[in-house]
Amino acid sequence: MPLFGKKAQETASVTYISDAGAVTRVDVPLGDSVMEGAIKNGIDGIVAECGGACMCATCHVYVDPSWLDRLPPMQEDENAMLESTASPRHANSRLSCQLRVTSDFDGLVVTTPPTQQ
């Protein structure tokens, strides 16, 4: 698939923990979202139905509390859409499509909720 290919580049390590406790560590290219890091690596706990347009709330994650203050602040649309998640919203809820990975994300840990829809 050369059309969809991407050349090697810098990454940050992101760890995804499923609701059942399965741990997957992924090197996510800088500039990709935390959502893309999941779907490009076969992590099924993230659905991302709208493709990252902040319209569907099916890429909901719980961010490890130690990371909450280190992530970019939430915009109004993310905050609004988090009101319609299928699993309960908590203080550490984020939409992973809105978390665009920078080098500061290296070591981030997120947990996917029991259900996305």
């Binding site: 698939m1 290919g5 139905e49 493709g51 347009a53 649309d77 905050n79 609004a80 009101e83 319609s84």
Partner: protein, 360 residues
């Protein structure tokens, strides 16, 4: 063990395959697409991808390994030429046959074309790549059709500094889907940004590049040839079944209660509905429609279906570019358009789903 064959690998077809596995379906799944590319998202083609803010690596729904990991037989560059309803098999070009227990028609739609030659159209990734390449050296761009696609392309082209003219045959923008008050807002927005908008016109001005977004034609020929009921789309009942109980139709190609929608939401929710039905048994399709468009720095989010007979109530400030328009059928909320007001949009979707009364 059943086998499901899905014709069309766009949003609806992809989601059917993915949702079947998510629901625990363990039969065969064949997903057949005409394009050579992995199934991918279309909304960015007229937005971030065209603007150069997102490259093609962000477009596929899932990487190639997703299909093998989930035992989905992905048949790309393949077209289905006939449906054998009695034998329950489809024929591919090249005469190969694929048997089904359940057939899903997610054949989508194709662009409507102008009678003039030389215009470009935007539907698939190859169209978008071509438009992007032609846009870069162009000084002036003529856009035929003031609908969502035309106006999204206009805003991208204008942001690149092109001289942009949009001609719309009707007396307002996006006339099929939104109310006049919202059309007026977008007319003002585009004009302020320097887009030349010509309403009530079909005269196409001379330009370096002409792009037309004048609607689509649903791909119903396969269904029609198989004797299925077809009107403005493949006719389906409340369960998304066609006139053949072994065949569903979903997404852009399907018409339910006289309505045929072209949207991510419609494609994905219909796909999830039939995947759940195949695994768990019959359930009616009841999702609330939603849609969005990005033009310049404005995000318009729509919930429900607008129609001209609905009463419009504006809340918020049009001048501050932050408002919602609620549409009522009597006392009942039927639709809402939100401009830079995502909280209103989410609330409207919830109210439309629950049927609760809106207090304004």
């Amino acid at each position: 063990m059943k086998s499901v064959v899905i014709v069309g690998a766009g949003q609806a077809g992809f989601q059917t395959a993915a949702s079947l596995r998510m629901e625990g379906f363990d039969g065969g799944i064949t997903l057949i697409g005409e394009e050579p590319h992995l199934p991918y998202q279309r909304p960015p083609l007229s937005k971030a991808f065209l603007a150069g803010k997102q490259d093609a690596s962000h477009l596929p729904f899932r990487p190639e390994r997703f299909y093998s990991d989930h035992s989905i037989d992905l048949e790309l560059s393949q077209s289905v030429v006939a449906i054998g309803r009695a034998s329950r098999r489809v024929a591919l070009a090249g005469r190969r046959m694929v048997d089904y227990d359940v057939l899903v028609l997610a054949t989508g739609a194709r662009v409507r074309k102008l009678s003039m030659s030389g215009a470009l159209y935007l539907r698939d990734i190859d169209d978008a790549i071509q438009i992007k390449a032609r846009l870069e050296p162009a000084g002036s761009v003529a856009i035929v059709g003031g609908g969502f696609i035309g106006l999204e392309v206009a805003s991208v082209a204008r942001a690149m500094g092109k001289s942009v003219t949009v001609v719309e045959a009707q007396d307002r923008l996006m006339p099929r889907c939104i109310a006049p008050v919202v059309s007026d807002f977008f007319l003002e927005l585009h004009r302020r940004e320097g887009v030349n908008i010509v309403l009530n016109s079909t005269a196409i001005p001379a330009a370096d590049l002409t792009i037309a977004g004048i609607g689509v034609i649903p791909n119903t020929e396969l269904a029609q040839a198989a004797g299925l009921a077809v009107r403005n789309g493949i006719v389906v009942d409340a369960f998304l079944k066609t006139s053949d109980p072994n065949i569903f139709a979903i997404g852009d190609c399907a018409e339910m209660n006289g309505v045929r929608l072209e949207s991510v939401q419609n494609a994905a929710d219909q796909a999830k509905c039939i995947a759940a039905q195949i695994v768990h048994g019959p359930a009616e399709y009841k999702a609330v429609p939603w849609f969005w468009t990005d033009q310049f720095d404005i995000k318009l989010q729509m919930a429900g279906i607008w129609s001209p007979r609905l009463r419009a109530v504006v809340r918020g400030s049009v001048e501050a570019r932050r408002f919602s328009v609620y549409y009522f059928d009597g006392e009942r909320l039927a639709a809402a358009d939100s401009i830079n007001s995502p909280g209103d949009h989410v609330k409207a979707r919830k109210l439309l789903a629950s049927g609760e009364k809106l207090e304004l």
